[in-house]
């Protein structure tokens, strides 16, 4: 299993509420339909008084392996997802990582 992590900043001038709404209501369902996707979690920042979050959100998408992840983004649905990102994300201030989860025993 591999996990795609997207750490994103909203488009300049877009109010935070509008960003969160778009992410949840429009982009979420689009990305949820990616072929081969196993799990999808959106992580909006918790409001902490006196602290501005460094980014506007973190997305996590799980796939069986690296090949499935790459294949998903090359499908027509993958292209729709990428195209939709420009509607609410500032790509220059966002980044992605591909990681492997290692559960630590408590």
């Amino acid at each position: 299993m591999v996990k795609f992590i997207g750490v994103v900043t909203r488009r300049p001038g877009m109010p935070r509420d509008e960003f969160l709404r778009y992410w949840r209501e429009v982009h979420g369902p689009l990305a949820a339909a990616l072929p081969g996707l196993r799990r999808y979690v959106q992580n909006p920042p918790v409001e902490v008084s006196g602290r501005e979050p460094r980014y506007d959100g973190v997305a996590e998408l799980w796939f069986d392996d690296l090949d499935s992840l790459r294949a998903a983004f090359r499908t027509p649905q993958g292209e729709r997802v990428r195209a939709d990102e420009s509607q609410f994300i500032d790509q220059a201030r966002s980044f992605a990582m591909i990681v492997e989860e290692r559960e630590v025993s408590l």
Copy 2:
């Protein structure tokens, strides 16, 4: 439930292998002993040919709520965890976020 996400860069001059070993074998058990911690996942980057990962790792720590999270880092164990970070993490090129998980239905 809230989740602390730490996105980290290793100390300058530290080889990646050594960073990953220290994180897993030394820092992992220390952080796993934080009071009130509910779940802990370390996410090392997957090696993708031709792509240098933007950061050296992402840590995720779950707590019941914001108060439990803050309280954990104020305990002696929390202080040990913070102190140990300087052994392998470049704080100037690392950051943390506190988020809420929103599972998206597939």
